[in-house]
Assembly symmetry: C2
Homo-oligomer: 202 residues x 2
């Protein structure tokens, strides 16, 4: 039984590589993750926000220090992330989010979310941070920003065993409109719906 993080397994399957070609921002040759990183680079370059992807958590077991050459890690293992993948600051607000994608058309599998990530999001909300997930449906070519609270609510009912219907995501989340710059302008949604609207309940 091979046991590695979901994010890695996605990268090494042939199907996910195919699906990447189909998606909207992939028309620019971008995967979902690349589109997020591209958008964060755009926000950073334009002084709009400072948001970075955290490094992949790795448990380092053995390192070689060869002469005349840099240190080489020769044994290490992937660890589950204890937090979300992305965090940073936007106009003084703490921003914290996770990104997940699926080829399914009607639901997002909840196995994509780990209990400690859900707990982390609840902790962030308690500290008045802004927390959400970016959910990409690659076959539908639709991407949603779902605030953390409805995700936590659903997870608590469901205990992470089922799938979150896209209708639920459409009801409590916000579609991210694409076509301009950056590739995935999720901060527009944060600004309009979470900060400007009445949906930011903290």
């Amino acid at each position: 039984m091979v046991n590695y993080p979901h994010q890695v397994s996605r990268k090494v399957t042939g199907t996910s590589i195919r699906s990447k070609k189909e998606v909207n921002f992939a028309n620019r040759g971008m995967s979902f993750e690349t589109a997020i990183n591209d958008s964060n680079n755009y926000y950073l370059a334009h002084g709009k926000a400072v948001i970075h992807k955290k490094p992949t958590p790795v448990q380092i077991v053995k390192v070689d220090y060869p002469k005349r050459s840099r240190a080489k890690i020769v044994e290490a293992y992937f660890r589950h992330a204890s937090t979300t993948d992305y965090s940073g600051v936007y106009k003084g607000y703490y921003i914290d989010f996770e990104a997940k994608e699926t080829r399914q058309k009607t639901a997002m599998p909840m196995k994509n979310f780990h209990a400690h990530q859900i707990e982390h999001m609840a902790q962030v909300l308690q500290q008045r941070g802004i927390s959400f997930v970016l959910l990409h449906f690659s076959t539908l070519k639709e991407t949603y920003l779902l605030p953390a609270q409805p995700l936590i609510d659903f997870y608590q009912i469901d205990k992470g065993s089922k799938s979150m219907p896209i209708d639920y995501i459409r009801q409590y989340g916000f579609e991210i409109k694409m076509g301009g710059y950056p590739s995935l302008p999720y901060l527009d949604v944060v600004e309009e719906k979470l900060l400007g609207g009445d949906n930011f309940e903290q």
Copy 2:
């Protein structure tokens, strides 16, 4: 002739150093990094803040996927961090900091700081985040919180080639008093000096 403000000079009297020896986090068998992580765990457990150390950035080159066992990274290299080591949220404020220690008694070597980390701190300040460094002088058993702005100022004059005198750190930074819980109560300084006082210029 050492010349620093009265309030700082009080902190370095012999009595305070003696009392620190009894309560220094090193006497609890903790390294500087362990003391920071311990404090972050304390803050998290008490609902005071959500601040984590970011994973070590690693460039993964080769991964083996053995049958019946988890994925094993067999070739990887350390990368320079493009941001700071610690970030999170405290009462809605974005917190971002780096920690450095030295055995020197009179200065902190500036080679400890990379240009892109300094740039990152400036970007965080521009977004109204709270950024600083925790500087530990292990021989002196003194730890200071130095806000990012005076660090950036010094770095720009110095271009990272020299050392930052401890007098400069004492003038523009704040000593972190130890002896209680958590091991390194740096958020007390953030609360009193950066948020509550008139030193938070953003």
